[in-house]
């Protein structure tokens, strides 16, 4: 009897002590914030919940910011403009996206999902942390073309934001630290781990794969999983997958490292929700997954930095796939579509 009373007392007191030192808001009940519970079939996160403990208020604040076009210079573009929930926060039907004044970027907007597990962001890994990635689109002249100072001015002039930031951070005025922490709350919540495949590997109800899907999975494990590794379906590395012979248009990772050995290398993208995130590759050159598979089968071209995995014994390039294997792979890739994530109302713009 005593014991059952003492334990909660101890934790209660400890909580009082802890909050005395850390003014951050309390941990919310796990269900209040999407993605606060880490999927058991995923590896350890890079940006664990302890780094920015999820709360309902901070998550909702981040969501408002994500969908707020005032983050762009002329108030026309929000993060959500080019990152749409129904296609896993990629940009539906856009080879490259348009920023303010119709300015076109040079790379395909990647889906935003499972960002807690990412090590370097964007196609070239330039931004190195979830909390600082918004600075890139915010200040890029081809995207939002805005300055942090201006955004903070706009937010500080808004009574509703003033109050909501005050609730979360107990501090005024709104500064860049608060802005970035709040945006990170929303981005970190974008967890896709409830596809039929996930139910299958976790042995949950509804987790049945058909024969073609199972065969496709076997092909993936054998042919693709050295790059599209783990249940995140990426090893987070940068590789040249044989799209081009030269890289004058976009040197990829080399733009960041300055190393010739990184010419033409781009981040290995996840395959989650891949059936919905067309067009594909860093420049959006392929419209369908079948074109992507055809590329790996017979479209890979030679260059100095081509990934060694794409060199077959005997000098052939690419990953040979039979028509049957392609069909099976396509069947399997469709099992990675996570309808619960794509339709989660908590992740949608609130109107």
């Amino acid at each position: 009897m005593r014991r059952t009373l003492l334990l909660p007392l101890a934790f209660g007191l400890a909580a009082v002590w802890m909050t005395g030192c850390a003014p951050d808001a309390d941990m919310a009940p796990e269900q209040a914030v999407p993605g606060a519970v880490l999927p058991v079939n995923f590896p350890a996160p890079v940006y664990g919940p302890e780094q920015n403990p999820p709360t309902k208020e901070a998550f909702e604040l981040g969501r408002s910011l994500f969908y707020d076009p005032r983050l762009s210079r002329d108030g026309t573009i929000s993060c959500g403009s080019c990152h749409q929930q129904f296609v896993a926060f990629a940009h539906a039907g856009h080879t490259v996206s348009h920023g303010i004044e119709g300015r076109l970027g040079t790379r395909n907007a990647p889906p935003l999902q499972n960002l807690r597990w990412r090590r370097g962001f964007m196609w070239d890994g330039g931004p190195n942390h979830l909390e600082v990635i918004p600075l890139a689109p915010l200040t890029n002249p081809l995207e939002m073309d805005e300055t942090l100072d201006n955004v903070l001015r706009k937010l500080n002039a808004d009574l509703s934001y003033q109050q909501r930031f005050q609730v979360v951070f107990s501090k005024q005025p709104i500064d860049s630290y608060q802005l970035l922490k709040a945006l990170a709350q929303f981005m970190a919540a974008l967890t896709s781990a409830n596809s039929r495949y996930d139910h299958f590997v976790r042995g949950e109800a509804g987790g049945t794969l058909t024969e073609p899907e199972l065969r496709g999975r076997a092909v993936l494990v054998q042919q693709c999983a050295s790059c599209h590794a783990t249940d995140l379906f990426t090893d987070e590395s940068f590789r040249n997958n044989g799209l081009d012979r030269s890289f004058a248009a976009d040197s990829g990772r080399a733009h960041i490292t300055g190393l010739a050995a990184d010419q033409g290398k781009f981040k290995v993208p996840s395959l989650r929700n891949v059936a919905l995130t067309a067009p594909y590759m860093h420049d959006g050159r392929f419209q369908t997954l079948r074109q992507v598979l055809d590329h790996y089968d017979h479209g890979v071209v030679e260059s100095a930095t081509l990934d060694p995995i794409l060199r077959q014994p005997g000098g052939r390039l690419g990953l040979p796939l039979t028509p049957q294997e392609k069909n099976d792979l396509l069947a399997f890739l469709n099992t990675l579509t996570d309808a619960a994530f794509l339709t989660d109302k908590r992740l949608a713009e609130q109107r």
């Binding site: 334990l7 400890a14 630290y177």
Partner: protein
């Protein structure tokens, strides 16, 4: 069982307590303060910011004229050395010095343990951990001393004009890079004047008067000619050359007021 529970309760409480720093009532060690005042010069002249594109204030030893519109740099991780070799490392030690903002040119160090210090060192720039752990506050809040497309702080920024510079005459030296092989972090240990010690006491606040000579960006191990030197805007070989130049002698302690 009961005793175990009590211990557990105490342990949890202790955990809570230990996360609050410096709340013990033990005898407080004596502390004092110290300040470093930066005086910006260009060779033998005082630094004067000037945005003219036609009138130039300074001349490099390579006979190239230039002027300066912007001069900003981070000083971090200040350490004070005692005669016995032990050091006091200032916690959360970050300063952004901006030639355009006089208040930033005085670096105040508070709560320094009382003692006789015989040397100091600091980093020009921001250490790797603060470059890789997300959003930062205070002088490290991301702004125009942060690269957003390739996360990392600009350690030192010098901008201006020179008729010798190619194209639009613009000089934009943006020096940074915290990772090998392009690590431009340099530790500076300027010597104190001979026989001078920094005596920090509750009633003694020494003031170090440091000269920072902007000309040293362009001379030293590498002689920079604006017409031919690829001016660095990102981490790389040339950024490291400029860092080597400023590490070799930009900062000199001119004198110390014992106060």
């Amino acid at each position: 069982m009961k005793i175990q529970s009590v211990f557990l309760a105490l342990a949890v409480l202790a955990l809570g307590l230990s996360s609050c720093e410096n709340k013990k009532a033990d005898p407080v060690p004596e502390t004092g303060s110290l300040s470093i005042e930066m005086e910006h010069v260009v060779g033998s002249s005082a630094l004067k910011l000037n945005s003219s594109t036609t009138a130039f204030d300074y001349r490099t030893p390579s006979d190239e004229w230039f002027n300066v519109t912007t001069f900003r740099y981070y000083v971090s991780n200040i350490k004070l050395r005692r005669a016995d070799g032990t050091e006091y490392a200032q916690p959360n030690s970050y300063y952004l010095v901006d030639a355009a903002m006089p208040a930033t040119k005085v670096l105040e160090l508070k709560d320094v343990p009382a003692g006789d210090y015989t040397g100091l060192s600091f980093l020009v720039g921001v250490d790797a951990p603060r470059n890789t752990t997300g959003a930062q506050e205070g002088v490290l809040a991301p702004g125009d001393m942060f690269w957003s497309w390739k996360s990392g702080y600009i350690f030192l920024k010098m901008e201006g004009y020179s008729p010798a510079a190619p194209g639009s005459k613009v000089l934009q030296f943006h020096i940074g890079g915290f990772e090998d092989p392009n690590n431009a972090l340099r530790t500076i240990s300027p010597a104190l004047p001979s026989g001078v010690k920094l005596l920090v006491r509750p009633d003694h606040a020494p003031e170090i008067h440091m000269k920072a000579d902007l000309m040293k960006l362009f001379v030293g191990p590498t002689t920079v000619k604006f017409g031919s030197f690829a001016i660095p805007h990102m981490p790389g070989a040339n950024a490291m050359k400029i860092a080597d130049n400023y590490a070799a002698g930009m900062f000199e302690i001119d004198h110390v007021h014992a106060n």
